[in-house]
């Protein structure tokens, strides 16, 4: 009997030459294996005829750009924070005394303006604005726009081009409340 690997290749019609001839001869008396090979041929033929081995994903350009974006985002999140170094004292060893004095004066003036690491630490992550989210709208014609709304203290996504919910849709009973005749909150649309 052929070994497991040879049988596997034979079932798939991937054996050639002498090996194929050998197994063919052996299989003449093996109806189960012949049936198995036939079954493999049929299923393979059917699947290959109707399921593509490769299929471009929809929105292919967006597919790639989203990957790049995520990779870029990951890279930023693991980058070590860079620190500002004070190097003025280093230059003192290389410049004439007068130039050094002038430089020292200028540097001192500069420190009044530019924050040094010790006086102005990096803001805590929690206060830093969250990165822009990725928005994906698979339905054709639908777009989404994101912004941070300070007045509403909320993040907002505005969808455009979405098909309306049918008027026939009724709010289910379970979503209702026990109180009868709910009052609506009437808001003056024009801010004062």
């Amino acid at each position: 009997m052929p070994d497991e690997e040879m049988l596997a290749l034979w079932v798939e019609d991937e054996l050639t030459g002498e090996s194929a001839a050998t197994v063919n001869a052996w299989a003449v008396a093996q109806p189960e294996w012949l049936a198995r090979r036939e079954q493999a041929r049929q299923i393979k033929g059917l699947l290959r005829a109707h399921l593509p081995a490769a299929e471009e994903p929809p929105y292919a350009d967006f597919f790639n750009s989203r990957i790049s974006r995520e990779i870029g985002r990951e890279a930023v999140s693991v980058e070590p924070a860079t620190s500002v170094k004070v190097t003025a004292s280093f230059w003192r060893f290389f410049l004439p005394a007068t130039a050094v004095a002038g430089m020292a004066l200028c540097f001192w003036a500069g420190t009044r303006v530019v924050p040094t690491p010790s006086s102005s630490p990096l803001p805590p992550v929690a206060n830093a604005p969250a990165p822009m989210p990725v928005l994906y709208t698979p339905e054709q014609g639908v777009t989404a726009a994101f912004f941070n709304s300070s007045p509403a203290h909320a993040e907002v996504i505005v969808l455009d081009g979405v098909a309306a919910i049918p008027d026939s849709f009724e709010v289910p009973e379970t979503a209702s409340v026990e109180e009868p005749a709910p009052a609506t909150a009437v808001i003056d649309p024009l801010p004062r």
Partner: protein
């Protein structure tokens, strides 16, 4: 002619319908190796080119593994993001495609495991399976088919996909990788982290079941 020969003979679709990768396997050769080397050195353009070359195969494979097209879209991207992260560990002499399939296998496995917690509320699976991305659709994808198109490509493809969905993930993956993607046994064993013997038996079982499932659907007409 038995039913499978009849079904296979109605090749109303070619092997693939769309895109530049539609004709099938991108040849992995020196071009891939050069791109991989550049990508390993941090060249994003080279990596973008690799994504373009391989996205068709990865998307097709995952689409055959999960019911939902938009999930397949998301998961395919996850594969390439993870591949970028793992690129430093990839040995250039290995086959890039097989390595990608291995990452796709792990990604799909993680996805199906974490789909919902045990005992969680089961949403109607019909909801998820009907979701389709159809770039050609003007409004919403049409779900009705004329009787004349009973065995038209799309409907038959749906039946095949429905039958595939009834297999366990391991059996489904084995038949997708072999009979659709055309991988060698050794490659499949590497992707699925199992022996060639296991691949053989999974394939045998999967083909048996598919034969039975599709025969029933066809005979019901």
């Amino acid at each position: 002619m038995n039913i499978f020969q009849r079904l296979a003979s109605k090749t109303l679709l070619g092997p693939a319908e769309s895109g530049s990768a539609a004709t099938g396997n991108p040849v992995e050769g020196p071009e891939d190796e050069a791109l991989v080397l550049r990508a390993k050195a941090g060249d994003m353009k080279a990596y973008d080119e690799l994504v373009t070359r391989h996205r068709g195969r990865i998307y097709a494979m995952i689409r055959n593994m999960v019911k939902n097209e938009t999930d397949a879209w998301d998961l395919s991207q996850d594969v390439f993001i993870k591949a970028w992260q793992a690129l430093p560990r990839f040995e250039v002499k290995a086959r890039f495609t097989t390595w990608l399939y291995r990452i796709a296998h792990n990604t799909v496995y993680d996805f199906t495991r974490r789909r919902r917690p045990e005992g969680g509320d089961e949403l109607n699976d019909e909801l998820l399976s009907r979701d389709r991305i159809d770039p050609a659709a003007v409004s919403t994808p049409s779900e009705s088919r004329s009787p004349d198109d009973a065995l038209a490509g799309d409907e038959l493809r749906e039946k095949i996909e429905s039958a595939l969905a009834k297999l366990s993930p391991e059996h489904r993956e084995a038949v997708v990788l072999k009979d659709v993607q055309g991988l060698a046994y050794k490659e499949i064993a590497e992707v699925m982290s199992c022996s060639i013997g296991t691949v053989m038996s999974r394939l045998f079982y999967a083909r048996q079941k598919l034969q039975s499932l599709l025969k029933d659907e066809y005979d019901a007409r």
